[in-house]
């Protein structure tokens, strides 16, 4: 861990001022990911701006009948909030499927959106290649141990290309938010802006070191959920190597709005398969107006995985994702609650 300074900000403006003044400063929320990465010598901010005392810890009525979740609402509080459990069980399930109780008690909503990949080649500085950690150094994963890596939307130009990256986004919460089509509210030196969560995380493209479209001098203030449509018919399915405290091999966030057995609208995203929560507009659209049957779901699964490419250790994810999609949509359609 490198030496760094610490300061506490009491207003968003003060926090923004502090990070604008020092380009290698970082906001400190729950610290559940950043502090680990500092200890691993992956992140080395020269200053930490503690934002835990900003007034961003409330869940309030949002625009158009939705809810607005303050950026500092802890994952545990969010998962167990009465209105979230009632209106957005998908989000509650996703949060409770993530990390451990202790981590959820600390982790914040904004911090969860910004957590970084758990790719081994990123988190261990002894590995000589990682375009995310050391831009231009290549990708150690693509010919390494890549069981937990991406099958969709990755950049694959060979191990030594400065663009190659097959890392996955580790968040469960973000997958549910993508299915729910949430909006991230941010504040910067020039004012506020709204970013659809589906556009918030990015694919590696040619710059895998950049995880999101958030600018370094911007602060997440809230996440807005649209009005609840999937309270009755939704499901978060997480497939993992053990029953708790493991990142998803594949996860599916599925929400359906049904009219009888016909799907009126749908929200649908995948985790553990890409550099961002994977939202396929095509697959989601293919649900609309269709009967909620295994046939429909199988077609949607094929569409969602179209173009998927596996590697030596993660080829299985393609078929596993398809089976998981069918299962998650089936359970969602049945209206069974977790």
């Amino acid at each position: 861990m490198n030496p760094f300074s610490y300061q506490r900000a009491d207003t968003p403006e003060a926090a923004l001022h502090a990070v604008t003044a020092d380009r290698s400063a970082k906001f400190l929320g729950g610290g559940t990911n950043l502090v680990d990465l500092m200890k691993y010598n992956v992140e080395h901010p020269t200053a930490l701006v503690d934002i835990n005392h900003l007034s961003l810890s409330e869940i309030t009525p949002g625009p158009n009948g939705g809810l607005s979740i303050g950026a500092l609402v802890r994952n545990s509080d969010l998962a167990n909030h009465r209105e979230i459990v009632a209106g957005y069980p998908l989000l509650s399930q996703a949060l409770l499927a993530g990390a451990s109780a202790q981590l959820r008690n600390m982790a914040t909503t904004g911090g969860n959106l910004l957590q970084r990949t758990r790719c081994y080649y990123f988190t261990d500085t002894a590995f000589p290649q990682c375009n995310k950690r050391m831009p231009g150094s290549g990708c150690g994963a693509i010919q390494g141990f890549n069981r937990i890596h991406a099958i969709l939307g990755q950049t694959d130009k060979g191990a030594n290309s400065p663009e190659t990256c097959i890392a996955t986004n580790p968040s469960d919460m973000s997958v549910a938010m993508s299915a729910l089509n949430a909006t991230v509210q941010v504040q910067g030196p020039k004012g506020k802006r709204s970013i659809p969560v589906r556009d918030f995380h990015r694919l590696p493209g040619a710059t895998p070191q950049v995880d999101t479209v958030l600018r370094p001098d911007e602060l997440i203030t809230a996440v807005d959920l649209p009005s609840a449509r999937f309270a009755k018919n939704s499901w978060y399915l997480k497939v993992r190597d053990r029953q708790s405290y493991a990142f998803a091999l594949v996860s599916v966030a599925a929400g359906l709005e049904l009219d009888g057995n016909t799907i009126k609208s749908a929200g649908f995203a995948l985790g553990g398969v890409a550099h961002k929560p994977w939202h396929s507009p095509e697959a989601e659209h293919a649900l609309i107006g269709q009967p909620a049957t295994p046939d429909t779901f199988r077609k949607v699964a094929d569409l969602a995985l179209r173009g998927a490419k596996g590697y030596e250790h993660n080829e299985f994810k393609i078929e596993l994702a398809k089976q998981s999609i069918v299962r998650a949509l089936t359970v969602a359609a049945q209206g069974v609650q977790a």
């Binding site: 261990d124 069981r147 190597d241 053990r242 708790s244 078929e319």
Partner: protein, 755 residues
């Protein structure tokens, strides 16, 4: 052995002891009063951080430490380029490990200690470590184990048993067997991850060195430190009252222990060195990956005509270590012929070492799965197959068992489990989206015992003391030492004070091979006897004693009193004798070692393990619902600590079956998943109900306590029981541990053609 003495009293029956209801050290642990190696207060400590190589093979070209040396708080940067020269030690197998203490610039594995940064604070040391600039000469490494199986060679040195064995004519019997299988199982690299990683605090006072080290063998540490540093053994004291788990990795003295002592000398003040979690994957031992080919041939009645078990495993290029995965296959069942072998493939990974049930863990995972395959091929119940091949004696050595009650264990466990309800056809039992399966296996682990000593003191305050230079790994050594001393002294176990974990106490062996209870406890009655004899002599020679004038042979003991055998109205308390005689303490030294007669027998512990597993048909996630097991381990000395050890072993067996694997990066030889987030072991939700019992039938031919040790047997057999339950649930036989959801999804079911 001490000279024969007139018996002051009959030796108490050690097989029936009053148990302490709670762990002796329980309160100290849950209140944080128990001090671990890194927590001992020493004056003005400095902190050391171990820097590791980032290449798997080659040598160090240069370590530029100019920036690190100038960093705030840095006291020393010790590297192979400036380390004090140490005498070249002679290898002393088996527990002597090839450690890297900066005497050479060679690199043998990725993660090898190559520098130590010592600073005023831990954070300063960690930061300075990032400023080292290290350059290497990196020749190609030997990494691809599966691709180099043909390089397998016999171990250079023979261990306790030969690596290969042959009884009867296996090839002929195999070809004559109406039913036979030929299957290959693989098990991965595992790394020990006790709750407390290794840690050392070293302090010099002149030529005297005190080392607080988290260890399974304080006396071994003392010997190794003295030998490696070239100082007299009498100048070294090692201390370890509590060990936060070891599992074999703390049975050897690794580099960091010697380096910590070296650093304390260099900076001339006490140094603390805590091995970080990520450093547990390489520098402190590894369970090797194994490839195990098993051939079984049986007659129509299921009787084994041929057993062949051939193992190829990796070993470090630094030194050989044999995980004897096929040893138990020589005597686990009766068979007409039997043949085993072990081969080692040199690999640029950290040194392999003992890890809970080395051999039996990986060996039974494979062999007991293969037995299940044979049962399926024979269309025979797997339990009946075991009974058909029940070994009434050690067929390999042609010796009787000291004690074996495995049949009762099978019976009790299968009854409690409800084995008779098992559907023999796989893939038939469904509950919603889940396939349910039952599996079983036999557990086995040897009974080991070594020479040990102990001290017992009877105190004038009514209490007593027992001490030995052994250690408590969280297993209950304190508890059973107190019980054994109490039993021998006719005192309540709550009146016993126990001291262990200090090399100034009487010698005891390594806490490995499940031998601590069976080795240390038998020395305690001997010591107690000597102390009671001295106490009796005081009483009979004391005119104020009601026992005056008797001989010590006339005296019995009960409830803390000396009593005349002839007239029970004549008695007094130990404390009364001692207070009247100058408030003195009487002390006895005892020792015990395996009897000569033990050569005539074979001693093994046994168990029967039954598992129920549910497998999701879409996610393919397996879920262990319950495990029922009964063990034949001789005397169960303390129910709480004993059952707990067995349960812990079973949990690790579930881990071996479903979760645990060190993933080695193919090009750098580095462990990719070196954290407890990514190195998966079971969480509570992965373990259903555990129903564990012991037969509690003393094996007094093995030792007077009748106890065979239980530290390791729990991890044996249970992995196969889980794997066999997955087969029964799904019809899928996965022969590559751990059995993860992707492997279940991709495997073919034997029932798919009919489903």
């Amino acid at each position: 052995m001490p000279p024969a003495m007139p018996a002051a009293q009959e030796e108490k029956d050690s097989t029936v002891q009053k148990q302490l209801p709670h762990r002796y050290d329980g309160v100290a642990k849950v209140t944080g009063k128990a001090k671990y190696a890194h927590e001992f207060e020493v004056p003005n400590p400095a902190y050391a951080v171990m820097v590791q190589s980032t290449i798997p093979s080659g040598s160090l070209k240069f370590i530029d430490q100019s920036a690190a040396a100038k960093a705030p708080g840095v006291l020393a940067v010790i590297t192979p380029f400036n380390a004090p020269e140490l005498p070249k030690p002679k290898p002393q197998p088996p527990a002597r490990r090839h450690v890297t203490v900066f005497q050479e610039k060679d690199i043998w594995y990725n993660g090898q200690p190559i520098a130590l940064v010592v600073a005023e604070s831990l954070d300063q040391a960690r930061y300075a470590a990032t400023l080292l600039h290290i350059t290497y000469n990196p020749p190609p490494a030997k990494l691809n184990f599966p691709g180099r199986l043909n390089e397998g060679r016999p171990p250079k040195q023979q261990g306790r048993e030969p690596a290969d064995s042959k009884r009867g004519d296996v090839p002929t019997n195999l070809s004559n067997s109406p039913t036979k299988i030929d299957v290959t199982y693989t098990t991965p690299v595992q790394n020990h991850n006790p709750m407390e990683p290794h840690a050392t605090t070293a302090m010099w006072e002149g030529e005297k060195l005190t080392v607080h080290n988290s260890t399974q063998y304080i006396d071994g540490d003392r010997m190794t430190i003295a030998r490696d540093l070239g100082i007299p053994m009498d100048n070294v004291q090692t201390v370890c009252p509590y060990t936060g788990g070891g599992f074999g990795s703390k049975g050897s003295t690794w580099s960091h222990v010697v380096l910590c002592a070296m650093a304390a000398k260099v900076v001339n003040r006490p140094v603390k060195l805590a091995v970080e979690r990520g450093q547990m994957f390489g520098p402190v031992g590894t369970r090797p990956t194994t490839v195990q080919q098993i051939k079984l041939g049986a007659g129509p009645d299921g009787k084994l005509l041929a057993v062949q078990h051939d193992v190829i495993e990796h070993t470090s290029v630094m030194e050989d270590f044999l995980e004897p995965s096929a040893f138990q296959s020589r005597y686990l069942y009766d068979s007409k012929s039997n043949q085993t072998s072990h081969r080692l493939v040199e690999t640029n990974l950290g040194v392999c070492t003992f890890q809970r049930a080395p051999g039996e863990c990986t060996g039974t995972a494979a062999f007991e799965s293969a037995m299940d395959e044979l049962a399926f091929a024979l269309k025979m119940d797997p339990l009946q197959l075991r009974l058909a091949n029940y070994a009434e004696k050690d067929v390999e050595k042609d010796k009787p068992w000291t004690s074996k009650h495995l049949r009762e264990a099978y019976q009790q466990a299968s009854d409690r489990f409800g084995w008779s309800k098992r559907n023999a056809t796989p893939g038939q039992t469904k509950e919603g989206n889940k396939l349910i399966g039952y599996g079983m296996a036999t557990a086995i682990y040897g009974a080991n015992r070594s020479a040990s000593q102990a001290t017992v003191r009877i105190l004038p305050n009514g209490r007593a003391f027992v001490g030995a230079a052994t250690q408590d790994l969280g297993t209950g050594t304190y508890t059973i030492m107190a019980q054994t001393a109490a039993n021998a002294l006719s005192l309540d176990p709550t009146l016993i004070d126990v001291k262990l974990g200090d090399s100034t106490l009487p010698k005891a062996p390594v806490s490995g091979g499940s031998q601590t209870a069976a080795s240390v406890c038998p020395a305690i009655p001997d010591a107690a006897l000597q102390a009671l004899l001295k106490l009796s002599e005081l009483a009979v020679n004391d005119p104020q004693s009601p026992l005056h004038g008797l001989t010590s042979a006339d005296i019995d003991t009960k409830n803390g009193r000396l009593i005349s055998k002839k007239d029970s109205s004549k008695s007094e308390t130990y404390a009364a004798v001692l207070t009247r005689n100058g408030n003195q303490t009487v002390e006895g030294q005892g020792s015990a070692e395996p009897a000569q007669s033990h050569e005539a027998f074979t001693s093994q512990s046994w168990g029967a393990v039954f598992a129920e597993v549910a497998v999701d048909i879409d996610t393919h996630m397996p879920e262990v619902r319950r495990i029922v097991a009964t063990y034949d381990i001789g005397t169960l000395m303390n129910t709480k600590t004993g059952i707990n050890q067995l349960q812990g072993g079973i949990v690790w067996a579930v881990s071996t079956a479903l979760h645990e694997e060190s993933h080695i990066d193919p090009s750098t030889g580095r462990t990719a998943n070196e954290s407890l987030a990514e190195y998966h072991v079971p969480v509570n939700a992965d373990i259903g109900t555990l129903d564990v019992t012991c037969l509690n039938i003393p094996d007094t031919k093995f030792n007077p306590l009748g106890a065979r040790g239980i530290g390791e047997i729990g991890i044996t057999g249970a992995s196969a029981a889980v794997a066999n339950a997955i087969f029964n649930a799904t019809g899928k036989r996965i022969r590559d541990f751990p059995i993860t959801p992707d492997k279940i999804m991709q495997a073919k079911s034997v029932t798919q053609s009919v489903a």
